[in-house]
Symmetry: T
Subunit: 146 residues, 12 copies
Amino acid sequence: MSETLKIAVINGPNLNLLGKRESDIYGTLTLEDINNRIREFAIGKNLELLFFQSNREGDIIDFIHSNSSVQGIVINPAAFTHTSVAIRDAIAAVSIPAVEVHLSNIYSREDFRKDSFIAPVCVGQITGFGYYSYIMGLEALINHLT
Amino acid sequence: MSETLKIAVINGPNLNLLGKRESDIYGTLTLEDINNRIREFAIGKNLELLFFQSNREGDIIDFIHSNSSVQGIVINPAAFTHTSVAIRDAIAAVSIPAVEVHLSNIYSREDFRKDSFIAPVCVGQITGFGYYSYIMGLEALINHLT
Amino acid sequence: MSETLKIAVINGPNLNLLGKRESDIYGTLTLEDINNRIREFAIGKNLELLFFQSNREGDIIDFIHSNSSVQGIVINPAAFTHTSVAIRDAIAAVSIPAVEVHLSNIYSREDFRKDSFIAPVCVGQITGFGYYSYIMGLEALINHLT
Amino acid sequence: MSETLKIAVINGPNLNLLGKRESDIYGTLTLEDINNRIREFAIGKNLELLFFQSNREGDIIDFIHSNSSVQGIVINPAAFTHTSVAIRDAIAAVSIPAVEVHLSNIYSREDFRKDSFIAPVCVGQITGFGYYSYIMGLEALINHLT
Amino acid sequence: MSETLKIAVINGPNLNLLGKRESDIYGTLTLEDINNRIREFAIGKNLELLFFQSNREGDIIDFIHSNSSVQGIVINPAAFTHTSVAIRDAIAAVSIPAVEVHLSNIYSREDFRKDSFIAPVCVGQITGFGYYSYIMGLEALINHLT
Amino acid sequence: MSETLKIAVINGPNLNLLGKRESDIYGTLTLEDINNRIREFAIGKNLELLFFQSNREGDIIDFIHSNSSVQGIVINPAAFTHTSVAIRDAIAAVSIPAVEVHLSNIYSREDFRKDSFIAPVCVGQITGFGYYSYIMGLEALINHLT
Amino acid sequence: MSETLKIAVINGPNLNLLGKRESDIYGTLTLEDINNRIREFAIGKNLELLFFQSNREGDIIDFIHSNSSVQGIVINPAAFTHTSVAIRDAIAAVSIPAVEVHLSNIYSREDFRKDSFIAPVCVGQITGFGYYSYIMGLEALINHLT
Amino acid sequence: MSETLKIAVINGPNLNLLGKRESDIYGTLTLEDINNRIREFAIGKNLELLFFQSNREGDIIDFIHSNSSVQGIVINPAAFTHTSVAIRDAIAAVSIPAVEVHLSNIYSREDFRKDSFIAPVCVGQITGFGYYSYIMGLEALINHLT
Amino acid sequence: MSETLKIAVINGPNLNLLGKRESDIYGTLTLEDINNRIREFAIGKNLELLFFQSNREGDIIDFIHSNSSVQGIVINPAAFTHTSVAIRDAIAAVSIPAVEVHLSNIYSREDFRKDSFIAPVCVGQITGFGYYSYIMGLEALINHLT
Amino acid sequence: MSETLKIAVINGPNLNLLGKRESDIYGTLTLEDINNRIREFAIGKNLELLFFQSNREGDIIDFIHSNSSVQGIVINPAAFTHTSVAIRDAIAAVSIPAVEVHLSNIYSREDFRKDSFIAPVCVGQITGFGYYSYIMGLEALINHLT
Amino acid sequence: MSETLKIAVINGPNLNLLGKRESDIYGTLTLEDINNRIREFAIGKNLELLFFQSNREGDIIDFIHSNSSVQGIVINPAAFTHTSVAIRDAIAAVSIPAVEVHLSNIYSREDFRKDSFIAPVCVGQITGFGYYSYIMGLEALINHLT
Amino acid sequence: MSETLKIAVINGPNLNLLGKRESDIYGTLTLEDINNRIREFAIGKNLELLFFQSNREGDIIDFIHSNSSVQGIVINPAAFTHTSVAIRDAIAAVSIPAVEVHLSNIYSREDFRKDSFIAPVCVGQITGFGYYSYIMGLEALINHLT
């Protein structure tokens, strides 16, 4: 891992409310708290991280398009997991290895949360470990890329 | 109802065309006409109303997030009713009582209009009464909150 | 609204137990309490109200047939919502504007409660506001008829 | 056909409104008109006819049970066609040959009208010929029994 | 019924084997026996009958097209009932009133025999009465046309 | 079991025909025979039994409502098992422990007999043991209550 | 019941954990406790009981095969209820009357627990009465066999 | 075609990446290349063309609303084809004839790409001809409009 | 396009009735009218056209097999679109580029018209533009082949 | 096997193209090659073979009907496997033992190739062994018949 | 076929009961009878046969793993056909050509017996010919391997 | 993390073949290689690891039961993911936090691999990262437990 890896950390809709919203499902950390933990984890690992959150499907697509120089993507598509063919197509189009992560275990919630349009075009999926899903997503990407 | 209730009235995609579009389904009132009728109804009721319309899912989510001080939401999600998990999650996240309203009777139209992602996280749903669905949505909210 | 409107308020099976049954779902008001609130609401509105409750699909159909002079119907079909094609056909046959109401939010309960045979032949549907669903159903009818 | 055949003609819910209701679907004849045409048809055919109409599933079942001496049944179950396992079981239980008839063509209407719980336990089904479906049902029964 | 009615009696695949094949389901009459019974029935009724049987979907379509001067069609599409959109379209195209008939009760057999592509474009359907289904189909047509 | 248990034994549609109807499926005992066996079983067990049979969904609901002092219910809903949300709601409403019983094994018959609206709100279900299903239902209730 | 009945009591996967596992669903009795209650029940009834529990589908099949001299089987297939065609075939193959029992009410749990591969080849099914389901299963078998 | 036709050419999400992305599916032309070919085609045809691409559902809706003076729309909704009820409603609302086009043959790809929310409100659909789908879409519109 | 392209134009069942049949759906042009327009379009384009129509699936397959020297196929399979695996296999077998065309917009009609067995083995599909669908199909083929 | 067995070998649509078409799926042998191998196999086995291939469902049905003296049928229905109820009915009607064969493994191809209308009325099915499926079909028939 | 082929013949659950169990479905031969017929067939064919039967999915997987030197597998997975992804994966993993065989015609039995997890990873499937299915499976393998 | 964590690493069917089997899907590492990498990772982390692999559902259940003193489970259920309710129940019964891991991305493979019976009772799921899925599973468990 001699050269710097540039990795985007993308968060989908409503994740800006983390820590303030349904803490029984999503935990008490804010998105900034999570990002800080990711930053801490990255120390000394020769990583350059781009953080991005949006409640807009289109902004996430644009972000993916305009950051085609990143080597990897960690993405929590949140609600878009189940509804966005467009983000799926964006990830497939740029051909950047991506890891889908989720805070909660989407397999123990409503039925419609079991289907992901995004997962089939990702390297893999990590779900259920709270903020630690992101840390592992990052690790998995580093491992995949090196 | 001694203190002022602050209530958001949110309209989803294409409702800005009301009155100009398919009047056999949606009636001849413009959205501004409807808003005026809502304002009239509100007179003397100690209500503060925030009107918002957008054709963008993300703008509606942002609006909901940034108006977390409102006590209630009347929302006509229009087409997003059937496709937006993200708006559902936004309403669930902010924990503000919401009422879903529809101008037309969505149960006598195409099959895909029968399913609502939004209704399960609302207090209730009112459908089929034209502009009056909004008036009743407002009434229902006031009744619910007081 | 110069002339008297004659409106039937019809309640389906088990609603005679209201207030005594699962109060976490249906509230603590008895059916008579609800009817009284409807009567109060009607004061000065030049309305003539016919109240009817039955646990029998056939009685409800007969009631609808033999009261064909009413100008409107507010109906909470309860369990028949999901199983009675016959009440649907009765409402369609008499061509009297009807409003379907529900105390609880049927969209946040068991899956089989999401489908209504009745709603497609009604003017609209109001669900989730407890006794107030009836008041609004009445209002909606008045608004629709005048 | 030397001895008298006793045949029951049973009509399900809302058929008492025939002629007064949706005449575009069901025609302009009243149920009494139809019964008279059936009586006319029966003249000289050594038939004894029992006419019965009810909006109650239970009354139809009781009628079937208590008329177990009839040799055949012509039944238009109307809405119960699609919802009544109990009438199906009643017909199967009494082992009297039955013919299901319908005024309208149930295969060119709503999807839910395509499924019949009753038809599988009948000799056959006749659908779409207005009042004449009954005449043919009677003929088919006579032919079947003689 | 002063002028002669010209009516086509069309039989689909395998019905040429009637009487020789599975007699427990279809009875012991041959197709010619059935046609003779139809001819007998027609005596004195001012009918001109065209009999046609084919195991070929295309021949049936051609026959329908080239006999567009008939006033009515009695058709037992047999296996094509469940698979032929083309015959459905042919009947719809020529706008000749048609009656679908079946020897056996298709509703008490395999599941795939419950769906008919043909019935929705016919006046009606008669099923389950053996050869008598044809007699009644003819009667129904005469009644419909006069 | 020192104090008397009052238990209702409810039978649904067509069970009044027991012994006279399809004995290959339901056996040769009449309903009165079964009730007598239940009475015999009850001797010396300090039980007070209320027997009720109806072909009417509404009567069964009324019976349940008006016997809210019973400590338990043994119910064979027969055809209503698969179609009655209203009886389900009635049992749930009165909060009396109920046991669903069936004479035949409903899992080796038509597919539509596999689904029960009633079972989820009962203590349990017993199916397939002829009249003995009732005896066991009673035993199960006694065991549950004491 | 003069001669001894030999009956196998078979328990499927995870039932060895009974009493130690999710006691809110399955109760606090251990499997040995249940077996003792069954033994107690059997006293004086001229029964010979074979108890068997396994977490292996194959062992249960082998047990059924090699105990073909038993006159009856009481089986709680647990998880195998919903997944084992092989146990179904084993029971069908040996032609020994079997009764399926369940501790919990499988109809008020996850959807996939509603389907049983085993029930259609059993005499009947008893579900929801805790350890008492076994006692009744035994009774039902004795009644069935004598 | 004496007067100028004003036609909008709308492209949905990720089509800005054309030529750079999965060229095995979508070909090597960039969106600008395609637009140039469309412009070439338009020469001398008295057409005024408005080109629009967005990765945002809302922007596409706004564009449609604010260009209600165009006589026709050629739209490649890309991923939104399968998920956007809102764009469907926008096209239906403005009542401008639209043609849905696709570069690839959506019927030989993933199952979810077979369903279009947009096609039913369009004049027609053209799929599978690469950039030429647009040329033909334009031609079809001109033909439809003149 | 220096050398002559030989292209087959194949029409499926009932299209011989065009212009005489349901003109609200299919327009007033006869098939010969359409063929003439295609011929006109072909003038000067160095095309050799083979026109073929049949109401027989087998004839269409034979035609495809015995014209394996054509460079392209324009096919309107009509009803066979939704039912013919055999024509699908024929097109796949001969490996001649084919374009599926439809006069009407099959996506705004009955549900069963939405599925095409043919489209996945074609270059593409054009639907909804009346006779002009054929012209465009031809153009698309020429473009595809040159 | 002292007396001659007369066996029909029937091939469905497109199989006349064998060897010339998709050889990766169906191999390089022509149908005549396969028939020759079958003839070779038959030498000395006292078999009389009738070879028949058609792209027409109706011809196959006619062939089956008019060769009712054969003792067995080997049939590769090809595409008709999945669409022809009529061939199914033909085989069931003539009551001649039939074996369904396929060159390719239909269970590892498109989903719609998994369902066979023909197999349930055959003795058995052999799929996946290229031309050898026919040889085995013949063997299986001989074994079945002798 | 100069060198010896080593082939495993694997039988799944309950097949050890063959001949003793449901002989109307599976015939009167025991598994040992069948194996002897296979041995007879193999005489002089330079085959080495390994016979294996187990009621345990895991044993079958282990057997497949530890016999990776065989050149082919004939497997009757019995009940595991419909439930075992693990045996499917085992066959796919060892990359040994396998043939799935069945005694009975699985396509004319219960619906759940129509789906095979195993067939898609086999060379082919043979079903319905009693013990002869094995003989043919062996032949097919030999043919496939040589 | 002062005290030793005891963690079980469980592998399901066919994973003993890792490295020897389909390396395009599962990679070239053997199970022992993977276990060694896990051991390496564990160095200095105060972990005690129990490795277990079995091709038997029952052995895995027994292992889980008899190691109830472990604090966590990393499980790759392989094929049992999609078929084993029994392992699901075992994990739920012992109440030990478990993490489901997969080598390949199960969401980009066959449809039946998308459903997991196990995931809903686990803390979370990690899929698609080859051997690294295990490392992360371990990490996730440690993080969850400390």
